[in-house]
Symmetry: C2
Subunit: 361 residues, 2 copies
């Protein structure tokens, strides 16, 4: 399980020729947003601290072209939320969002108005603003957001820092993104309330100083845990029943389709929950702070020395090779039928493997 994910390797190849910026505090893959030193003079006796700039860019195009976001309001909403969620994961406070849109000339004005309203409302919900942009004409609708924020240097969170024994949390019940993708692409009843994920800006700021590592769940829960595991040389033991930890509507959608719950963790359409770890000694204080803010994070398990993800299952725990699962999705976006088949093959593979490598609970 030490092999890096295919996507990580692909990105490493793309960026291998780039020089590292002297003011960049983050290494590739190590944080959801990049952290840059601002050239601001701060007198030594100031007492204050210069903030780091947090910046992140994200394009929404595959999800539109494959028909997943057929609603322009949703496409706009998610495009903004995806970037703002990356700011949340480093604990940053947003300064604004830039939006570059490629628009087919044939789009009706009402479609554009609705798209823009989705972008604006998503920003408002996160307490921020569109501060600039660019428009182009092109054959396929594509929206690139760039979010900009600030975070005090010693408070910034990255994906690095968790240790075996840390408690694993998710900011809210995860897997709704995959629940949505499942209901959008397969027959059966859908999620009530649709899919309008709120970036966890407020929660990210509350996590400053409490979380040992943080990453959003935008690529799905296994992909997130795989990336955190790879970066920190650890694994995860998931605990509790799926009914207690996962989004109930998504669980119902999976059950109705005869799919095991873990498929919802394996799918590559995540949502914008924060997946983070807390040292056991800080846990009580963290939970008090969260409760005081009216926030109930979901405890999902703990960090293990062993790599991989140990899942609870009726017949006993199962060790999942999250890298393998994550790689199944690479290059397969949009063809959920093919992807589900691959995952169900994996289910059979794991059931077979489980008898050989029992991890009883």
């Amino acid at each position: 399980m030490s092999a890096a994910g295919l996507e990580t390797a692909f990105i490493d190849r793309l960026i291998r020729g780039f020089r590292k910026a002297p003011g960049r505090r983050t290494a590739p893959h190590e944080s959801d947003a990049e952290l840059l030193v601002l050239p601001v003079d701060h007198p030594a006796n100031d007492g204050g601290e210069a903030p780091l700039l947090a910046v992140t860019t994200d394009t929404i195009s595959e999800e539109i072209s494959c028909g997943l976001y057929a609603d322009p309001y949703q496409a706009g909403w998610v495009a903004a939320a995806a970037c703002l969620s990356d700011l949340a994961a480093v604990g940053a406070s947003p300064l604004g969002l830039l939006v570059s849109e490629t628009l087919p000339a044939s789009l009706p004005a009402s479609f554009l108005d609705t798209l823009q309203k989705g972008i604006g409302d998503s920003c408002s919900t996160a307490g921020t603003y569109v501060v600039g942009g660019d428009t182009n004409i092109g054959s396929a609708l594509s929206i690139t957001g760039t979010a900009i924020g600030v975070v005090p240097e010693r408070m910034a969170m990255t994906r690095r820092g968790c240790l075996p024994g840390d408690v694993l949390y998710v900011s809210g019940r995860p897997v709704r993104g995959n629940g949505f993708a499942l209901t959008a692409f397969t027959a059966g009843s859908g999620l009530t309330g649709g899919y309008f994920p709120r970036p966890r800006i407020r929660e990210g700021m509350l996590l400053r100083g409490s979380a040992s590592a943080c990453m959003d769940s935008s690529d799905g829960l296994f992909a997130t845990l795989d990336q955190l595991g790879e970066l920190n040389g650890v694994g995860f033991d998931l605990a509790g029943s799926w009914e207690e930890t996962l989004d109930p509507a998504s669980l119902r959608a999976a059950a109705e389709r005869g799919l095991p719950p873990w498929i919802l963790l394996a799918g590559c359409h995540g949502e914008f929950e924060l997946v983070f770890t807390v040292r056991p000694a800080r846990r009580t204080l963290f939970l008090e702070r969260a409760a005081a803010a009216g926030w109930n994070p979901v405890e999902m398990g703990s960090v293990s020395e062993r790599s991989g993800v140990m899942m609870p299952a009726a017949e006993g725990a199962r060790l999942v090779d999250a890298t393998r699962i994550r790689n199944l999705s690479f290059g397969m976006t949009g063809d959920i039928g093919k992807y589900l088949e691959a995952l169900l093959r994996e289910e059979r593979h794991m059931k077979g493997a489980w008898h050989g490598t029992v991890f009883g609970r």
Copy 2:
């Protein structure tokens, strides 16, 4: 000529529902990059000044899909330079570039390597770095750059501020962008040396405190002058001969194709020169500073009270409705044949109008 350009009106419609960010110092259309207040504590006795953040985003897709940037190195180079040029136009010093790429799955690895090298080399030339990005799979290659920089608040330049009588300059001989487009799309010899425009970061920083208004020439010279004229309620008198002010290779390419030189100002494929104005009283000091830095800006004329652009011509000066010319290109990218026809009709229209509204020189 008071009617706003079609593109300006289109963008106004797109952004009409967005709330204005409290920390945003720029209004829509008024600057090449957005200027944002950084939430940095600066003691009153500090003496220093908190910088403004300069941010700008730009997508290169039409130019690729229409075959203009068939060379991946050039596509990467221009994508980075387009954003960095916007920073130059506000006088900002770059902190870095974010790049979000949509890549067809079929692109060979060598194409990707060359594209990335173009991006990296373009950043290096401007003294900056790629600091982050995103990759997606999609049917058409598209590159969205977001450049981030800083500029001292009182030194930031915008497109607003020029007055009648100000001297009009361009950072270097303009119209090479249209010369390149012309040779790429029509038969005949091309530009030697190709088209690898260098963003004028150093010149933009030298202009701090000297320029009354500044904008880059990325949409072509008439579009730039039209935008500056509209924002400031002024017009421009161009002076000197085209041979003294425009890019010689582009002039030769136009002449070889039997086209009048002004077509090169009208085309919508600009380059990344800075178009700026200087108060007459500051002109000598500015030219001394430029010469000391080894820079020879091109004097193009002056700012007039009258709107429109007065062009020198063999038969006497002609007043051009730059808004009208700019609107010809809106939505017509990629079909240079159609666009050239429209421009040549405009040539005949102006020749007719000229006899009625003579502006002798």
